[in-house]
Amino acid sequence: MSVLASAIKQEIPAFQADDDTCPQCKSERYLNRPMKLLVGPCYHKMCESCVSQRFDAGPAPCPVCERILRKAEFYQQIFEDLTVENEVRIRKRIAMTFNKRQEDFKQLKDYNDYLEMVEDITLRLLYDDDTDEAEYMIERYRRENTAIIERNQSKLRRDETIQRLAFDQEQQRKQQQREEHLRQLADEEREKTDIKNSLITALATSNMDAKDIVKAKMVQLKKSSLSTRSMTRNARFKAEAILADEYDSNELDEDEANNAPFDPSESPYEPVDIKLLDKYDDPKNTAFRQGGLAAAGVTREMHQRYLIEGALAGLFVNPLDENVLASPEAQ
């Protein structure tokens, strides 16, 4: 779970300092112990009462930088250093959109390129370098990859749920173990006293030799405690195995096969990348001077590609593996 999410759930206490002062109403922590200092998206601080005073009626400008802010955008500071705070928030935001995983890529190189791009956007936002373009890139990426983003978000949610479940179960298991151990101790104690009592009665009532009676009872005592211990241990192993099984079969991959990454422009042929020059000198070709070709979509570039590809066709193509194309519908 991310730092921010756990902070929201109050698992990590917000950052507080003894000499905190609200820059707006100047109230100090020394006088106002429960004061909550909030930080807005422009990283200017304000105490909670100032925020509600200013922003309860709707969006209003920040008193320091005049940026229009909303009440919902204020949150409690987690890190002492606001630049860290800023970076964590930006990274969190980026990770919401750019959530592709390595398994979404066919090659490691593609994945690395993708990570490089994400880091580039993040740094732009961090250092306020051409933020407009970065925002545009994020938006474009979001639009182009809605499906993958949503799928990975649901995957992430599922992973988190599984983690939480596992954590809860682990806690429960430990609790049970502790209880069982205590019960065992109590049982042993009771058994001991029982045997002791029976020993005393035996000694009092039996005609046998006192030494023999004591010996027999001691053996019985040892046996019983041993057996209970080993029994419980066996039972515990079994229970653990069952629990472990449950984790595994937590319907992890109900349709993983259906969600395997696929490439719409997949082809059995390796594309041969022929780099064209920007311009070719072709004085004899007068066709393009007359006009009219462009209106039908025939461009000089296309014509040149046709000529070059025609000249080089087949030179770089490996013979196809017959199996690739062996028609699956052969009847």
Partner: protein, 377 residues
């Protein structure tokens, strides 16, 4: 020389002996289609027998085009030409056997299309087309009944009787090609050189047809076709399509306003409509290419395209069986002359009962889609 000829004949005979004809599936003016099988593997094949006897000028042009094109192409979404052999005076093309076609699927009103199904068909069709264009080949006759469907649901591009190479600006091409309703505006304006964008226009029309379950631009005549297009998509301005007036038949057309495209395609997603718009762009230079269309977010986003095996298909593939390999009636001599293609269109409309029915359906669709009403004047 003599020994070579004998060798050739022997090879031909050997090829012929590999296949066995079973029954006649259909007959057209220029070819007969038989169902057959490969004797050793028992693989079902369709044998298209092209009659040569009544040819004035040698071998039928479309047969040459088809063999030429299919010998070049091998792709999961393009029909496979397995063998060619001659028998007496006839030429026989051994093609893979496919049971039904997209037109039958579209017309079967008992089938319900999910958006994912349409996506799957479009993806397969564009993959096949992209492969043709990468090989510098234009199909020039894309329409639903030239997309055949295999038993496993794979969509395959078929009937390459009009296919030809493109890219060379020095050789003129005919503008009288492609079945009228799927003909791109630059062809209607008489362009004598064009590119893969004419196939993309046809794909756009098919995309729209899959969504509407009725032809999108059913013009009654060649001239009316352009008016139908302009009425549906708005007359392009000089900015939108520079050089339009320079085309042989370009003149000032009646100005129709642009109707709201997405109104007609309420059931389609935003991305589907966006891709359709890009495929039906007037300016061929700006029209999306097959490769770029496959990179469009429409294909990457949910819902995922249906697996081919799970696509809807008609219960009876009898009609498909009869039309098997694009139907014999498809094989008509169309050279780069106007008369033949006129004849062909005439035949398409009257020879074939299906076609006539389709025409009727198209008229109904046209009535339903009165674009002028919904658009603000």
């Amino acid at each position: 020389m003599a020994s070579k000829a004998i060798l050739g004949e022997e090879i031909n005979k050997e090829t012929e002996s590999l296949y066995k004809k079973e029954k006649k599936l259909g007959e057209g003016t220029y070819a007969v289609v038989y169902l057959g099988h490969h004797i050793k593997t028992n693989r079902k094949v369709a044998i298209k027998k092209i009659k040569l006897g009544n040819m004035r000028s040698g071998l039928d042009m479309s047969a040459i085009r088809e063999v030429k094109a299919l010998r070049e192409l091998r792709h999961p979404n393009v029909i496979e030409l397995i063998d060619v052999f001659s028998h007496k005076t006839s030429l026989n093309l051994v093609l893979e056997f496919l049971d039904t076609d997209l037109e039958i699927v579209i017309k079967d009103k008992s089938l319900v299309f999910m958006p994912a199904d349409i996506k799957s068909w479009m993806m397969m069709a564009l993959r096949g087309l992209d492969h043709c264009h990468k090989c510098w080949l234009l199909h020039r006759d894309l329409k639903p009944n030239n997309f055949l469907i295999a038993a496993n649901g794979q969509l395959k591009l078929a009937d390459f009787g009009l296919a030809r190479e493109f890219g060379d600006v020095k050789r003129a091409m005919t503008s009288q090609t492609v079945t009228r309703w799927y003909r791109a505006p630059e062809l209607l304006l008489g362009a004598t050189n064009y590119t893969g964008s004419i196939d993309i226009w046809a794909m756009g029309c098919i995309f729209a047809e899959l969504s509407l379950r009725a032809p999108y631009l059913p013009g009654a005549s060649d001239l009316e076709q352009l008016t139908t297009i302009f009425r549906a998509r708005g007359t392009p301005s000089e900015d939108e399509w520079p050089g339009m007036m320079k085309l042989p038949m370009g003149y000032s057309f009646e100005k129709f306003p642009k109707p709201q495209f997405s109104d007609l395609f309420r059931g389609s997603s935003e991305e589907a409509v966006d891709l359709m718009n890009k495929m039906l762009t007037f300016n061929p230079t700006n029209r999306i290419s097959a490769a770029d269309a496959l990179k469009h977010p429409y294909f990457a986003n949910l819902p995922r395209p249906t697996a081919p095996e799970k696509l809807p298909r008609p219960l009876k593939s009898l009609a498909g069986g009869e039309e098997g390999e694009g139907g014999g009636d498809e094989v008509v001599s169309v050279d780069d002359d106007v008369v033949a293609s006129k004849k062909r269109l005439f035949q398409d409309a009257f020879d074939d009962g299906l076609e006539a029915e389709r025409q009727k359906m198209g008229e109904q669709a046209a009535k339903r889609m009165d674009f002028s009403i919904s658009s603000p004047a």
